[in-house]
Amino acid sequence: MSNLNETEKRPNPDVLLDNIKDTHKTRGKLKIFFGYAAGVGKTYAMLDDAQEQLKNGIDVLVGYVEPHTRPETLNLLEGLPSLPPKNVIYKNIELKEFDLDAALKRKPELILVDELAHSNAEGVRNKKRYQDIEELLNAGIDVYTTVNVQHIESLNNVVGDITKITVHETVPDYIFDRADKVKIIDIEPDELLRRFEEGKIYRPERARTAMNNFFTKENLRLLREIAMRKAADRISHENQTVRHMSEKMANSKLLVCVSHSPSSAKCIRWAARMAEAFYIPWAAVYVESQDPDSLTEEEKKTKRSNIELAEKLGAEIVTLSGVDVAVVIAEYAKLSGITNIVIGKSQHKKLFKEDLEDQLIGLLPNIEIHIIPNYKKNAASGFGLRRKLSDKNIYFSWSDSFKTILFLILATGISYELRAIQIGDQNLIMVYILSVLLVSRMTKGHIYGIVSSVLSVLTYYFIFAGPNITFSKIAPGYPLTFLIMLLVALVTSTLTARIKTQAKLAVKREQRTETLYEISKKLLATRGLENIIKLTNENIIKLFNRSVIFYTNPETDDGHILQAPKENAAFLKKQDEKAVANWAFMNQKQAGTGTDTLMGAGAFYMPVISGGKSLGVLGISCEKGRLSQNSRFFLQLIASQVAMALERQALSDEQRFMIVESEKERMRSNLLRAISHDLRTPLTGILGASSAILESDDTLDEATRKKLISNIKDDSGWLIRMVENLLSVTRISEGTADVKKTPEAVEEIISESVSRIHKRFPERSISVKVPDKLLIVPMDGILIEQVIMNLVENAIKHSPDDSVIEINVKKSNRKALFEVIDSGEGIANEDLPYLFDGYVKSSKKGPDSSRGIGIGLSICKSIIEAHNGKIEAANKKTGSGAIFRFSLPL
């Protein structure tokens, strides 16, 4: 039933499209006041502009302005309505933050929010202020804001290089690029420095340090240039027709290689600037070369932040896995039509291996490779990597040690035998080499191979060579033997390790594909919203071992929760968690733990989107820590499968709804056709009788008059019952397709119907049997009452006046069975199949002889079917009479 309600709410696609158009139309406009350093007068300019707007009659609201000490600026605030800041307690410090919800509620035409790059305190919905501003814009509110050049994400490192100060609060470029207006606030650096000296920008004690570090004339000039350039780029973009550009660069695609080194950030920024400058799409690729354990915590963190940075700058994120990084990247680049690759210059040289960039150049002769040099920090990272690797190689295991010793003993034994039958010494060496090869193959890491090669050389030397040949004579050959053995060991173990990792990766990949395939297969076979949700939840628990909640629409439903073993998922039901889910649903973005939005939540929320429309939200508990990038990616794949399943379900619901609708329509029109005839008869009677009384009142005798009046009464009684039956039909069609069921006590329904029948036929006796145990059946009480009344009335009409009508109710496995039995003449066999179908009466009787009953029965049928029940008629097996039976599911 809920499915159908769901579809009922599903808006028609055209309306949706209109809505989308509308939202585009009503999205707020963003104006950025852009400066190159603090103190250029951005806030002043913003407030000045706002005052102007206020004068023009615009509903302006000051959302948040940094509490400056500059009196000129404060003066400008006068007369502007402002929103009180929200106080957030963080680590016992009271912080003042912009109150987003109050602003959304107040919904002014224009709102002023200072400092676009600000990071919100923990506990506020969004991590960054620019996210607040995006929400404001989405709500159709115009926004004025301010930002300095060093906060623009892609320029971050450029500015950092110049000023030697790293700024952590950054704004993604797309915010800047999509702004409707950017106003550059510019003053001469000299003027700025003078302001600065006057203490207008910072308090004097801070001014000194700032002056030495940041506010040098040199820095300011450079910053000014960068800011101007950035603004100029924007203008040049606007001027160029996009079409012209895109044609030219239509086939370009940029790929940046991301590693776990902090220097990757530079490559990412560079690529972002490139991509923006040429209007080309770009992707960031990360290759998982070894199993994740090979990275230190530090490296994992950098890797994650690098990927997040790329995502923020608008890159498509691709994670690949493979052993040979160069080959994997080359494969991907070929497949996805990459034209340019950006890569950091790898610092640590390997002896026998080409650099990654050189390999790429070799593999991809047609692709341009941009190499970004790295400096600082990467030495440390290289070291970390090596340390980790060597850690792995000095890996100790009893079984591997045992294997090594076993092979050496075996080799020695065989050598003894071979020597005994006088086989040349060179063959003994071969035996040892074979043992080294086997050891390297069977053990983990390089170390056992190396140890076994050393041991082989030594045993060979001491056991076989030692006593017979003098050391000095044979000695020159041994280093070579040793070297060969060592090489064999190294090569073999490296190969083995590689095969093992590859196999592991392949298995992992295989597993994923398998699970995904499994899920999509099951989803395909699943019908019904409930089942889809259940299946999704179960699979997610199986995959992630975390509790999960699934909302089809957080605004209207309460979510379907499934708890993972040993986890308490009760918190997912909380109202604030639901609010996060709702945010994710409305904004079609991920939210909660591990994201930038509402990261205070206890779970991670992934919207299920299809065709730009949210179909649901998946919430994954993060009690066990945040979800990895990989898991999120995988979850996204699952979400898209679920989206497809939901979409399909919705379509099939819609189709079923249509079928039911048309069925109902058919029934209604049949009914109408039938009653228009049936209604005429009593109406004619009433009209005739009443006009007879009115027109010839004086000539009528008392008895005739009485008779006419009682005819009127009878006919109107019949009309009333007819109308009540018709009302029942409208009751079914009023709802969607099913009836509204509430639990009702069967005996109450029966007793009410019987008492109503009694009023009409006081002389007839009716015997009622209901079960002793209270039987509660979900039903629409009024409708079932109507059914019983119709059946009893039918029985009364078709049985002798002195006979008894029986009503029996029984409970039989998961059904309630109702029976109305009379002892009349029974039903003609040829009528049985058509009894409930409509208005065809057995031709033996005139159409008026049993008027209305046909309709009554067909209404009974539609009511019972709307309850998912069954109705049937039969003749009594013993004696004459008919039995009408219907059952309702419990």
């Binding site: 009702e744 006590a745 005996e747 109450e748 007793s751 009622v768 049997k769 209270l774 009024i782 109710v809």
Partner: protein, 234 residues
């Protein structure tokens, strides 16, 4: 009845209004009629009728609004006239303080019975009854002081909840009590004991009635609530 009772008929359908007026006049009631809800409120203040027959479907304002307005200042008995298909409307009206409802179409005898009943309630005829310690209808006898319920001479044992329900119904004998009202009175506000109420009612019925499917004392109004009979035809 010594004084003729004054009845205000609020009904926009002229034919129905006429027929009701005729019947009531011939049964010795004074009547005033109106077609509009707003006028009904004014007439109720100026004439202070003994009873109001209120049709819910009015041309100007919703009958429910009239009911709310009247109930703010007056306890004049109000009988709501409604169409049968909308039992939610009835429940709402009863919960808002209507004394009774009558469903269209209705016969004259039913109408007169309802009016008599409502008037009796308001004129305190049954206050004496509820004030008294013993309530009797048919063979059913409830002794409030001793907390004893008897059918004929046989004492019947009830659980505390069942006794509370039966007491509540007997205190409002003849009046329909909505499910929501009973639940509020027995279990307190903000509860939803719909299922429990039905189970309790079924138990009561099994203890009181000879055939639970043909009750004599407590009647069900499907979708609305329960009513205790004032008279029992034995």
């Amino acid at each position: 009845m010594t004084n003729k009772s004054l009845i205000l008929i609020v009904e926009d359908e002229e034919a129905i209004s006429n027929f009701i007026s005729t019947i009531l006049t011939s049964n010795d009631y004074h009547i005033i009629t109106t077609k509009s809800g707003k006028e009904a409120v004014l007439l109720a203040t100026s004439h202070v009728p003994d009873l109001i027959l209120l049709d819910l479907g009015l041309p100007d304002i919703d009958g429910i609004e009239v009911l709310k307005n009247l109930r703010q200042w007056s306890s004049i008995p109000i009988i709501v006239v409604s169409a049968r298909a909308y039992e939610i409307e009835k429940v709402e009206a009863l919960d808002l303080g209507a004394d009774d409802y009558i469903t269209k179409p209705f016969g004259t005898s039913e109408l007169l019975a309802r009016i008599r009943n409502a008037l009796r309630h308001s004129q305190g005829n049954d206050n004496s009854r509820s004030g008294s310690q013993v309530f009797t209808v048919g063979e059913l006898k409830i002794d409030y002081e001793k907390r004893i319920v008897k059918i004929g001479e046989k004492e019947i044992h009830f659980t505390p909840i069942e006794y509370k329900i039966i007491m509540l119904l007997s205190k409002h004998v003849g009046k329909v009590l909505t499910h929501a009202f009973i639940m509020k009175e027995i279990w307190g506000p903000y509860t939803n004991e719909n299922q429990t109420l039905r189970v309790n009612m079924a138990n009561i019925r099994r203890k009181l009635e000879t055939n639970p499917a043909e009750p004599k004392y407590i009647f069900t109004e499907v979708g609305v609530g329960y009513r205790m009979a004032e008279k029992v035809i034995l």
